[in-house]
Symmetry: C2
Subunit: 217 residues, 2 copies
DNA sequence: GACACACTTGAATATTGACTCATGTTTCAA
DNA sequence: TTGAAACATGAGTCAATATTCAAGTGTGTC
């Protein structure tokens, strides 16, 4: 069960010029990526040791450097992979939503579930802020770009209010991220359905007291 | 101009039993904390070197270990100090708000400004997630506790809607944190007033289309 | 079956920087 | 004035580990 079966063909892998040439090579690369994901997720970037990664993968120490130029490179590959997987999971979970409001509901819920089942990947992305800042920014740039388009189009359709979509996207991403940390990683037995309902309600209706039928406007 | 003039008397400092005994000692401790804040903020925990900290502070290398047991300890002291300062700045900026809705508005704005003028402290807190997880959790535990009480009381007064305040607090903290990163740290020439207005609007009114006078309910 | 290329290996290297310690200096109370 | 406690110092110790490299083994093709 390969955690990272989607081996991204980043331009900067070593092993010859552009990825392994043989089946054996592809297997080894996949084993290394999986092992690196486990090791970084469990111990964090600085505590992680290349020798542990190769042991987990069941290959010799030197083999690592056939496939990656450095410890940082494999980390960056992992962050990029994680970004693609997260975006994919979210767009899948939201694709049948009848409108943006409903998509937000589904998205929050799906994100919390994704975090819970991919704790170590979550950690890797967060730590990228310090280990590989460029990868981190790229992760959120890509994410926010797609998200912003969704909001802008929905606003044009009248499904949501108009507003500064860049700022709203960052606020929404931040909210989900922190909820993921609090309820997905730290307290991983919380009732995710209830939490995501509460969060979705906040994001959709805000904190303001509800306008009820018959209230003066 | 001491960045960290509020030297917290954490129980675990070295130098005898509980902090410096003489004025000279207090001055040296303050210089070390200031220097450590600069160094960690600029280079991050792992790139930071004790020797750089002592050079910045203008003291000998050995002096560091008179005041701190380890690199990690000074980092933890910094995170705790940062927490106290952030909470203080925010509660100050919000104390004259006539109601919770207005307090949220002011709070977001004040937070973005605080982050922009304390970029390095922001970085230190974020990195604590990986360097000193206990300190990080304590930072947010303390923060969220106060925040949650405010929300709960405001809800009882009818100033805001009722809801799962723990979840709402985490969503709100996350939103502010990400906005701080995006507009306070990364793009530090953004129009903070406009961004915080947009963010406050989202948090107060949500994404839902506005109910206008005369709309059917 | 033999050449070439892809891949594997782990002992040895090299760097780095946190932390110790033995010694020296300053402060201050009596 | 003096003794003890507080403080200051930086050369040297030491462990950790990322990375290199020279010597292999496997795989496929003509």
């Amino acid at each position: 069960m390969s955690q990272y079966s989607s081996v991204s063909d980043g331009a900067d892998r070593t092993a010859g010029k552009s990825g392994p040439k043989t089946e054996r090579g592809r297997r080894t690369l996949r084993k290394l990526l999986d092992a690196a994901g486990e090791e970084f997720g469990l111990r964090g970037y600085h505590e992680a040791a290349i020798s542990h990664i190769t042991q987990r993968a069941g290959v010799g120490l030197g083999t690592f450097y056939v496939y990656f130029k450095s410890k940082e490179e494999v980390f960056r590959a992992l962050v990029a992979d994680m970004g693609a997987r997260t975006r994919h999971a979210l767009s899948e979970s939201v694709k049948d939503a009848p409108n943006r409001i409903e998509a937000e509901r589904l998205g929050i819920r799906a994100y919390l579930e994704f975090v819970r089942t991919h704790k170590s990947l979550y950690r890797i992305v967060m730590e990228a802020q310090f280990v590989a800042p460029e990868s981190y920014r790229e992760y959120y740039r890509a994410f926010s770009e797609g998200y912003r388009q969704q909001l802008t189009q929905a606003a044009a359709r009248g499904e949501i209010s108009k507003g500064d979509d860049e700022a709203r996207v960052w606020a929404l991403m931040g909210a989900s991220t922190f909820l993921g940390l609090r309820y997905g990683v730290w307290q991983d037995n919380a009732d995710i359905a209830a939490v995501s309902e509460a969060a979705a309600d906040l994001m959709i209706n805000g904190l303001a007291p509800r306008v009820k039928k018959g209230d003066a406007l």
